[in-house]
């Protein structure tokens, strides 16, 4: 795509054109020519939307909660952008994206924009381009952007980095009640939702979660993944703590029950982040991690481009034949 087309799309998006919004998302998802320029033009218009992540094991009701939550946010006068991520098949590279099935109540509402995304090989619960797509919706002026993760139930750390408030959904009958969300995912929850409380076993799930949160206060360690700040490099950084009592909200998303409490909880968490200053810390960490990722990728690409074709291949062979060790290989490649 020519640069001036990217520019026109950005102008049209800022003027409220939904088609331009949809096309820009595709451009960015495909890393097509013009995408980088479009993102640069959009960036000054970002930072206004409140970003909420929704994660949880498959079938717990994430999409149904997004549907009902969006209705409640709309009733409170907010516009809502939605990004729903489903897994890409590792065999074919294709995907069936089915989250919209549960969002039919949102059809015909111009204050809502839903976009389905395939994970395209990324393993952290989001696609590599999800952060950028969220920024496009932010620039388009949506008050809240909801991000539904793949929900593979394993490593869903990306969402905690992307969203300000992360909602983890559990439901009764998902096997051993808490097991489904135990593995590290509780760590990232700012709000816990027990959905499907119309089902038997719901109170057991609530009790089990409450026991896990036990003391009532959680110390959320603020991680410094991918740190690149040289002043802080080297020595382990001081853990920072964020005192927030994680609420457990009970919902029946199919009946639109409990969503008022959920929106209240989001508002309270948002106020907490603002008052404690944690919101700046989180954004700063996110930017630091993203910058580190991008630098790593760009530096690697630059290096590969500068070396003769096959240089990396040759080095791999030498390492394999025990002619050189990894550390020396890196030094040799860097020195050209």
């Amino acid at each position: 795509m020519m640069t001036h087309q990217a520019k026109t799309l950005v102008q049209n998006l800022l003027a409220g054109d939904r088609r331009a919004l949809a096309r820009l998302i595709t451009l960015i998802e495909n890393r097509a020519p013009g995408a980088a320029e479009a993102l640069a033009l959009l960036y000054p218009h970002t930072g206004r939307a409140y970003l909420v992540g929704i994660t949880g094991a498959p079938g717990t009701g994430k999409s149904t909660v997004v549907n009902a939550l969006t209705r409640e946010l709309r009733a409170r006068g907010q516009t809502v952008g939605i990004v729903a991520v489903d897994p890409t098949s590792p065999f074919s590279g294709g995907a069936v994206l089915g989250d919209r099935i549960r969002m039919r109540d949102l059809a015909g509402d111009k204050g809502v924009f839903i976009r389905s995304m395939a994970s395209r090989g990324s393993l952290g619960g989001l696609a590599a381009a999800t952060g950028d797509v969220v920024r496009v919706l932010d620039a388009a002026g949506f008050d809240t952007v909801l991000i539904e993760t793949v929900g593979a139930g394993q490593s869903e750390v990306d969402i905690a980095r992307t969203a300000y408030t992360t909602i983890v959904i559990d439901a009764p009958g998902m096997g051993d009640d808490v097991q489904a969300i135990k593995a590290g995912i509780l760590e990232i929850a700012d709000i816990l939702v027990v959905n499907k409380t119309d089902r038997p076993g719901a109170q057991n799930a609530v009790r089990a979660l409450r026991a896990m949160l036990d003391t009532g206060h959680r110390l959320r360690t603020i991680h410094h993944h991918g740190q690149i700040n040289p002043q802080r490099g080297g020595e382990p950084s001081e853990p920072e703590y964020d005192f927030w009592q994680v609420p457990i909200i009970e919902t029946v998303a199919t009946e639109h029950n409990g969503l008022d409490s959920l929106v209240d909880a989001i508002d309270q968490h948002r106020a907490h982040l603002r008052e404690s200053g944690v919101i700046q810390d989180r954004e700063r960490q996110r930017i630091e991690a993203e910058l580190a990722d991008r630098l790593r990728e760009a530096l690697l690409n630059r290096l590969i481009a500068e070396r003769s074709p096959g240089a990396i291949e040759a080095m791999i062979r030498r390492i394999q034949h025990r002619e050189i060790d990894l550390g020396s290989a890196v030094r040799e490649l860097l020195d050209g």
């Binding site: 939904r18 098949s89 995907a95 994206l97 099935i101």
Partner: protein, 133 residues
């Protein structure tokens, strides 16, 4: 590094209540490397056009078993054009009498696939037609 994927919306307009065929097609397109947005049963033409716009799809696949295709298809096409989505390819599957096929093609449908269609044919048709653009 650009990585384009063919994006397809599979929708079931109208009131007939089963989507086994639509799901088989959705999975076949996925297995051919496409990203398929599956929207489920009982979609109105308005819902289909809106989803096609938001999802920026290359193809809209309509599965119709109810016999209402001569009403539903032109309505979907009209709405897509109204949104400026003139270049979206439309394919129709389901139970469509032979004599209706030429009229659907005339309206702008790219191809009609009956119940016995091999899903490979659908895949090939989509890939070929999009490449020729």
């Amino acid at each position: 590094m650009s990585e384009e994927k063919i994006r397809v919306l599979i929708a079931k307009p109208g009131l007939d209540g089963h989507d086994r065929g639509a799901k088989v097609v959705a999975r076949a397109l996925r297995d051919a490397g496409m990203e398929v947005i599956y929207t489920g049963l009982r979609q109105t033409p308005e819902m289909i056009a809106e989803a096609a716009l938001q999802e920026d799809v290359d193809v809209v696949g309509l599965s119709i078993l109810s016999g209402a295709h001569m009403a539903l298809v032109p309505r979907v096409i009209e709405l897509l054009r109204g949104e400026g989505l003139d270049d979206v390819m439309i394919v129709v599957g389901g139970i469509i009498p032979d004599e209706d096929i030429p009229r659907l093609i005339e309206m702008g449908v790219s191809a009609v696939f009956g119940p016995g269609t091999n899903t490979d044919d659908t895949v090939q048709h989509i890939k070929r037609t999009l490449k020729d653009r």
